[in-house]
């Protein structure tokens, strides 16, 4: 590979500069170190860490996961060590790397969101906040924040008050009109959007007549949801001016490039990490190869090039 033909991979999400558009999805990459044996973290566009709450969270009782057709359900219940322990125990490790660290945050009240945001903004090594207004697994808060445009906008405003970091709002797909939520959140000052979080689903065991997940319902992720994710990204991109990060069922470079083509400025890789711990860098390499093969010198040249006008009749 000659340096000359090496495609330009850097993307700019508002104030946030990324080496390349490949990020990890929150909750699927631990705090980074879990995958450091597999992936050179320096090569990633950004690491989005597991959702952080003000207090440590125990999470849901097991069983927490179940496989489904082309995907999986999870009801982890946001088990995490809490924002303070993250700052003390995990962040120093991540600071060793030259990679953007994005803290995914979660609260059960506006005040909690604010406190978590404030703490993370006071320390070095956090490059942006991703606000989870969409986790469907926790009874309180979670779902409701993200499903009502007004409430989602309020969370945005509240978090923005406490931080100078770029604020990414992560949207839930479990809504009638995701573009309306996106527009409300943009107006409230969000710097970027990421979507989609998981679709709420359920799986049951006929023999025992019980749910497979102790929590009964869980979040559906993986290739099964990709068509829904792609549709929502497209709808949102048409509606807002702020950068959008595409998430949902991305397992290879073509998937990632499709999201970029539709208009996402970056992507997050989630469930794919579980079946292939090298997924993120495999995808990055695949994207670079695609650009080279197609003589595209800058990834930004591909972003948003989707021609919805209709395909010429195939075959």
């Amino acid at each position: 590979m000659k340096a000359k033909t090496f495609p330009q991979m850097a993307v700019q999400l508002g104030k946030l500069s990324l080496k390349n558009p490949v990020m990890t999805a929150s909750g699927t990459f631990g705090y980074g170190e879990e995958y450091a044996d597999y992936v050179d973290l320096n090569r990633l566009g950004a690491i989005v860490v597991k959702g952080l709450s003000l207090q440590p969270r125990l999470g849901n009782p097991p069983p927490r996961i179940m496989e489904t057709a082309g995907g999986m359900l999870n009801a982890i219940g946001l088990q995490n060590i809490g924002v303070d322990a993250f700052i003390e125990e995990k962040l120093p490790y991540l600071r060793q790397y030259d990679v953007a660290v994005i803290a995914n945050i979660y609260g059960e009240s506006y005040a909690e969101y604010q406190k978590v945001a404030k703490k993370l903004s006071a320390v070095k090594g956090v490059h942006a906040l991703e606000v989870n207004v969409s986790c469907p697994n926790v009874k309180k808060g979670g779902l409701s924040f993200g499903t009502d445009p007004k409430v989602a906008a309020m969370v945005t405003r509240k978090v923005k008050e406490e931080t100078d970091l770029p604020v990414i709002i992560k949207l839930t797909p479990n809504v009638t009109d995701i573009a309306a939520v996106a527009a409300a959140v943009e107006k409230a000052g969000a710097d970027a959007l990421s979507l989609i979080n998981t679709l709420t689903g359920m799986s049951v065991d006929l023999k025992s007549r019980k749910p497979h997940l102790k929590n009964i319902t869980g979040g559906l992720s993986g290739p099964a949801i990709k068509p829904v994710a792609l549709r929502m990204v497209w709808q949102v991109v048409k509606r807002v001016a702020i950068p959008v990060i595409g998430i949902g069922g991305i397992v290879n470079a073509v998937d990632a490039l499709e999201f970029l083509m539709v208009g996402a400025k970056a992507v997050q890789v989630g469930t794919a990490n579980f079946i292939n711990p090298y997924a993120t860098t495999d995808i990055l390499e695949g994207m670079q190869n695609y650009l080279q093969d197609n003589n595209i010198k800058d990834i930004n040249k591909l972003i948003g090039t989707f021609n919805a006008g209709g395909s010429s009749c195939s075959g």
């Binding site: 699927t28 097991p62 069983p63 996961i65 057709a69 082309g70 999870n74 982890i76 579980f274 079946i275």
Partner: protein, 272 residues
């Protein structure tokens, strides 16, 4: 960077008992020698179904000239294992591992007691193999209690008889060995063992391990158990494989079977 995902070739995949299979897989010799208790995540190379890998204990390991052979002993439990069972010789599987922690060994202890229920024999068998290889005079000190519902579910005996002098077989219906629960058989022998000088290892269904916890009482015997839980990542990232254990303060904490385990102190496990 770790390179612990391998494409393996199936050398053998046989139904040794109804619904119980022995699979032998050839892997590159860069596959690390597993410590007893470790497992792999196994998928079918190039297939999207099953979607997630399935955790299976390493049952045996042999380093050949230029490659490695590992064996798995597994039971058809559902869709994933059903598909595994259908694979023919020469098929390719994706093997991610070895993963997880291992049993702690106490070479100085006088008695080594294994208690296995059904397919739980798999990781304990690798442990016995390891002890025989690394700790001298161990076969005579090893006592293996192997239980199952009926003779049909007694697997792994051929390997064990080459490793341990003292094997007690129990079946619920008496169709092989004693007619008793395996925990019962151990309970009857318990006085033979000095708690301070005995290491107990167990693997089997939840009910068995729960019963064992009762029998062993409040920590007089040190007992390590292998736990099972559904997994997604196998590497500690997803928090999917949680089990409830007591933390240092005695409070409930959810630990990851894949990376905090799969081996836990029986005394720490919180049963539902």
């Amino acid at each position: 960077m770790a390179k612990n995902i391998f494409i393996g070739e199936i050398l053998r995949n046989e139904e040794i008992r109804p619904n119980y299979f022995l699979m032998k897989v050839q892997l590159p010799d860069s596959f690390d020698e597993p410590r007893p208790g470790q497992f792999v995540m196994i998928r079918i190379a190039g297939l999207s179904e099953p979607f997630l890998g399935r955790p299976i204990s390493i049952y045996s390991y042999s380093l050949r000239k230029s490659f490695v052979e590992i064996e798995f002993l597994y039971r058809i439990a559902g869709k994933g294992t059903q598909i595994l069972a259908g694979l023919i010789k020469s098929s390719q599987v994706e093997v991610h591992g070895p993963l997880g922690g291992s049993y702690e060994v106490f070479p100085e202890k006088e008695n080594i007691v294994f208690i296995a229920g059904g397919i739980g024999v798999a990781p304990l068998s690798l442990l016995a193999q390891y002890l025989c290889k690394n700790v001298c005079l161990v076969p005579s000190r090893m006592n293996f209690y192997l239980g199952a519902q009926t003779a049909k579910e007694i697997v792994g005996l051929d390997k064990l008889t080459r490793l341990c002098y003292n094997i007690q077989i129990c079946t619920d219906d008496g169709s092989q060995g004693r007619k008793s629960l395996v925990t019962q058989a151990f309970a009857e022998d318990i006085k033979k063992y000095d708690p301070a000088n005995t290491a107990v290892y167990a693997c089997g269904p939840k009910g068995m391990m729960k019963a064992l916890a009762g029998i062993l009482g409040k920590g007089k015997f040190a007992c390590q158990v292998s736990l099972e839980e559904r997994m997604a990542c196998g590497t500690g990232a997803c928090m999917g494989c949680a089990v409830a254990v007591k933390d240092k303060q005695g409070d409930v904490a959810y630990k990851r079977v894949c990376s905090d385990g799969p081996v836990f102190n029986l005394a720490d496990v919180i049963w539902e």
